[in-house]
């Protein structure tokens, strides 16, 4: 998948979960959930964002903390649902 998509997701995560003055860096491997940046309750926003943005529907069983734990794993997940 393109670098654009990666950037899109990283930008969203920064805006949605970090405070303006935060010095936390996010890259495609940063542990989002297990690293305490996004908790399982707040994860909901991320799921909704992805579904809206990519016009997909992620079933609840697939929306696990593991699948959302890094931008890389998120991209793998989206690939399952985005039609080529």
């Amino acid at each position: 998948m393109s670098e654009d998509v990666k950037k899109l997701i990283i930008d969203y995560v920064k805006k949605e979960y970090l405070d303006e003055d935060s010095d936390q860096t996010i890259d495609e491997n940063t542990k989002l959930i297990s690293g305490g940046i996004v908790d399982s309750f707040s994860m909901v926003s991320l799921k909704m964002f992805l579904e809206k943005k990519f016009k997909i529907s992620i079933p609840d069983e697939k929306a696990t903390p593991e699948a959302f734990d890094s931008v890389n794993s998120i991209m793998k997940l989206i690939q399952e649902f985005v039609k080529p």
Partner: protein, 415 residues
């Protein structure tokens, strides 16, 4: 046995994991009523010792107040111990109705219904009032029981960065296409003792056409000049649509909770809320005592005033002593230690000094934000608080954390 050795092994290993991660919670046994001083047996088998309690939700000291006990006793005699019934079958006594009316008046709403606990009130409300075309917009740090309640609802779930009003506004804008919007927040957040910006929330709610729901469990009885809660404190009484709160903290500490708010919302919950329909009614003994509690705090603000004084005193002294206390006015005073082991060590040493506190660490609070959460009570006298500060200071010196900021403590102890 109906299940295999695999299950047994699995769960035993889980427990080992919790222990080795330093996350195991041990119970301590109290051999007295709840009060400023309690008798504790810890560890199991040790001789009980008297300690000063700084971690109960007994904000107004009513949990063992003689007037409250008297009312409870009378309730037992005249209305019995239990009702063994759900509300609408044969579980509503005249006194239940009386308590609901008293709470309505006290909180400044239109109607109130009792629930067995605030947890059950939170489990009920969203499922009854909201459907799939509606949006629930919750502060990210709302209480666990609210999160569970929202999960039981079909409405769409949104959340905003803790107390971040710009982010809330964005979510309100985002959800204008939904049928109804409900902003959901705690009045006071229990890990930090910080207060929701209810005035801004109510303004935003009006601007963007949303309902406001508030869990005021850590405020009812003592926040606001007359102790009515966070809405009184923030000057927005009459502008909140639904308040859930508990009778299990400041207002007596035994059991019970309620939902209070707009007439139609409350009545609909009376008809449809699952806990209300399927769960036992609040026992007469608790209802009778709670009526007395509301009478006591309406008659005089002595207790909430004393709590306020005690809180200011304790916060000042702890800050002076060099502790990292999150700023605020609430009786929840979190002493920040950041490192989980440090929090546990300090708590243990304080216990040896006769001060009973508990260390909070992951997953109860985020990783790297371990603390000792102290709670001031109207039951505390000046000397209790002075002894506590002295003990904290002594232990603080031992660990060399006095006057140190977050970075310095983390540098010393890691996260």
């Amino acid at each position: 046995m109906a299940y295999s050795e695999t299950a047994k092994t699995h769960y035993t290993n889980e427990l080992k994991g919790i222990r080795s991660g330093g996350l195991f919670k041990e119970e301590r046994f109290i051999e007295s009523p709840q009060a400023a001083r309690i008798k504790v047996e810890y560890p199991l088998g040790a001789a009980p010792k008297e300690v000063i309690n700084l971690c109960a939700n007994n904000y107004l000291g009513l949990s063992s107040h003689p007037d409250v006990l008297e009312a409870a006793r009378k309730g037992l005699e005249t209305r019995g111990y239990g009702m063994s019934s759900v509300r609408f079958i044969c579980g509503t006594q005249d006194i239940h109705h009386e308590l609901e009316n008293k709470l309505t008046e006290f909180l400044g709403t239109e109607d109130t219904i009792l629930f067995p606990s605030c947890m059950e009130a939170n489990a009920a409300i969203f499922e009854v009032l909201l459907d799939k075309d509606d949006a629930m917009i919750a502060d990210r740090l709302v209480h666990a029981s609210i999160v569970d309640g929202m999960r039981l609802s079909k409405a769409q779930l949104y959340n905003y960065k803790h107390s971040n009003m710009e982010h809330l506004e964005e979510k309100l804008q985002e959800t204008q296409g939904c049928r109804f919007r409900m902003i959901i927040t705690d009045g006071v957040f229990s890990m930090d003792g910080d207060i929701a910006k209810l005035d801004v929330i109510c303004d935003l709610a009006e601007k963007y056409n949303a309902m406001v729901m508030l869990d005021d469990s850590h405020a009812s009885g003592f926040m606001g000049k007359r102790g009515k809660g966070t809405h009184e404190h923030c000057g927005v009484m009459g502008r909140i649509d639904a308040i859930t709160t508990t009778l299990g903290k400041a207002l007596g500490g035994a059991a019970g909770g309620c939902l209070s708010g707009r007439k139609e919302l409350v009545e609909l919950c009376r008809q449809r809320a699952r806990p209300y329909l399927f769960s036992n009614t609040v026992p007469p003994v608790v209802v009778a005592a709670s009526i007395r509690v509301i009478d006591l705090i309406e008659k005089s603000t002595d207790r909430r005033d004393k709590l306020e004084e005690n809180t200011m005193f304790f916060r000042e002294q702890m800050t002076k002593a060099g502790f990292d206390i999150r700023e605020g006015v609430h009786p929840i005073v979190p002493v920040m230690l950041y490192n989980a082991k440090l929090a546990q060590d300090v708590a243990r040493d304080l216990y040896a000094e006769g001060i009973y506190v508990v260390g909070f660490f992951f997953p109860v609070v985020p990783q790297g934000q371990a603390r000792i959460r102290t709670q001031v009570s109207a039951d505390h006298e000046r000397e209790h608080l002075e002894k506590a500060v002295a003990a904290f200071t002594k232990v603080g010196k031992k660990y060399n954390i006095l006057g140190k900021k977050k970075d310095e403590i983390i540098a010393m102890y890691g996260v």
